[in-house]
């Protein structure tokens, strides 16, 4: 089976998304991959603009990420944070010394009038990341969770509260007035293959899909499941990878939040969220029993090894996705 030969757009959140993005980047030349990254959990810490998901993706592609956590930098130290603690400010968000340099530089450039897209491009250039990593939007969007402990911004919920409070609502504040970043909009227009990475559907991909026009653009280009095309001018193929396996998230609070919000906390529940914007849905073999129900949604399921532990796992999964996109080339 041949590999997809067109342009690829990946929608990604943090750690789970970054894994698949790494696999895609190892398979695709820079000009053929755009990664649009969630900025709904961007936050201001100590006056610095922190973009956790962007940094996770960039550090991963730069080969600098901490392999144990998936976020942050390998070999990181936390001396500045220890000193900030002496200044009696909240230091529950882990900011390493090298990582702080990224936030300092980002904040400086934003302060000088650069867009987040421009800042991200500059950071990528300096770190040798050639693939195009773009924020979902240059406009501020902030994910808030309504919880039993009151309303919490994303990092407050996720890091400070360790995702413990029960969630009864999610809001992407600012999304209605935000535009997709230029690089994201361009990729939305010309990518022949869209990959919804295995990221939290509410907290990672939700903000991206909440941007005006994004869901519509993805839906308008729908092609029937099984009728997969890859060439220019043809409909695009949209492939999602489930972030859940056997009713639990591979990592993070995705299943918990889905249940709390009244959604089935399984791959089927996720598939329902992507109905109309997804042609193929990759699930773990433990979820094979959900395949018929997923197919009933008009989404063609595929049982595949979606748990990525090694770089080889990530590359293999990326290759499988590119093969899905390339299957029509073979047929045509």
């Amino acid at each position: 089976m041949g590999l997809f030969q067109g342009k690829v757009l990946a929608l990604a959140g943090g750690v789970g998304g970054a894994k698949l993005v790494l696999g895609l980047a190892r398979q695709l030349p820079p000009e053929r991959l755009t990664v649009a990254v969630n900025t709904g959990d961007d936050e201001c810490f100590h006056g610095l603009h922190v973009s956790p998901d962007l940094d996770t993706v960039v550090y991963t592609l730069a080969g600098m990420s901490n392999p144990e956590t998936g976020w942050g930098l390998a070999g990181e130290t936390f001396h500045a944070l220890e000193m900030l603690a002496r200044y009696q400010v909240d230091t529950w968000f882990n900011l390493g010394d090298r990582d702080l340099a990224t936030h300092i530089r980002r904040t400086q450039l934003l302060g000088e009038g650069a867009t987040l897209s421009q800042v991200t491009a500059e950071l990528c250039r300096c770190l040798g990341v050639a693939h195009r990593i773009v924020p979902m939007s240059d406009d501020p969007v902030r994910t808030f969770l309504a919880t039993e402990s009151g309303e919490l911004a994303m990092q407050d919920y996720f890091v400070r509260q360790r995702s413990e409070p029960a969630v009864n609502g999610v809001q992407y504040r600012g999304a209605a007035a935000a535009r997709p970043a230029p690089g994201f909009a361009a990729a939305l227009a010309d990518a022949g293959l869209v990959v919804l990475c295995p990221s939290n559907p509410f907290l990672s991909l939700g903000p991206i899909l909440a941007l005006p026009g994004v869901r519509e653009m993805l839906a308008a280009d729908s092609v029937a499941a099984g009728d997969v095309a890859g060439g220019a001018g043809a409909g695009r193929l949209r492939v999602a990878v489930s972030p859940l396996v056997g009713g639990a998230a591979v990592r993070g609070p995705a299943a918990k939040i889905m249940a709390e919000l009244g959604h089935e906390p399984t791959s089927l529940g996720v598939a329902r969220l992507y109905r109309g914007i997804c042609d193929r849905f990759l699930i773990d073999e433990r979820d094979e029993h959900l395949a018929p129900a997923i197919a009933d949604l008009g989404i063609r399921p595929l049982v595949a090894p979606i748990i990525m532990e090694t770089d080889e796992d990530k590359i293999a999964l990326a290759k499988l996705i590119l093969e899905l996109g390339g299957s029509d080339d073979d047929a045509g």
Copy 2:
């Protein structure tokens, strides 16, 4: 001889000033010592507000300063700066990881509307520094040097260019419109003893003395040399410690700059700069031959051990100065 019992105001720049300030702080309870610190070499690095002299004085009193350099923090690391270098920004100004926390916190508070005085008080509170350390002004003043290599801001000249370019002029930009910070103004009004620390007369004390009203307030309270009073309501005593020994600066470019600007690069040259605002001038024994010429300025010279290497040296010099201020109490 008794020690001076009133309030003390010390004018200080960086490392040399901080040494004497440490001695004074060991001899005086917090409510009796105010240190007004040069902010003419404050600089914005990477979007962060850096106050080198304030930090040197605060870190010194907090017992956190690097004993080898006199500036910066003991046991410092530079991981963030290494990462900033990857972002291809100028990193000639050494910013350690812990030190960066200070600048981050300062920048955040200033951004929230705090004055530099308020910020400095907060940093002091958190670091356990009880004596009052105040910036010379809450308004921006920036020292620029006209040099053979063009106009240079203070840190550019001092750190990046290692004080090498010949200087033909010094400008305290913003000084004419700046007001002494509230704590400095209060101490100017009620201190019975003013100490001009052994700091660079052009680059450290010059900006302080250039603030509107400061030199006049110091001059107006002049008392005749030898007619030293200490009590409330009496004239104040003004004591300077020479930053030069034997025609060379104890550290830094003071002698070089004085010569380039046409001043005699000796303790006598410094005394001339302080004429009218100084009653007693402490010089090293190697400068004893300058004493008659200093006395001719109306300044009473005193040969004393002014080189401070150990904490004991600093405390002894501070004690000597306080004895000068206390001599009249004995006589009266």
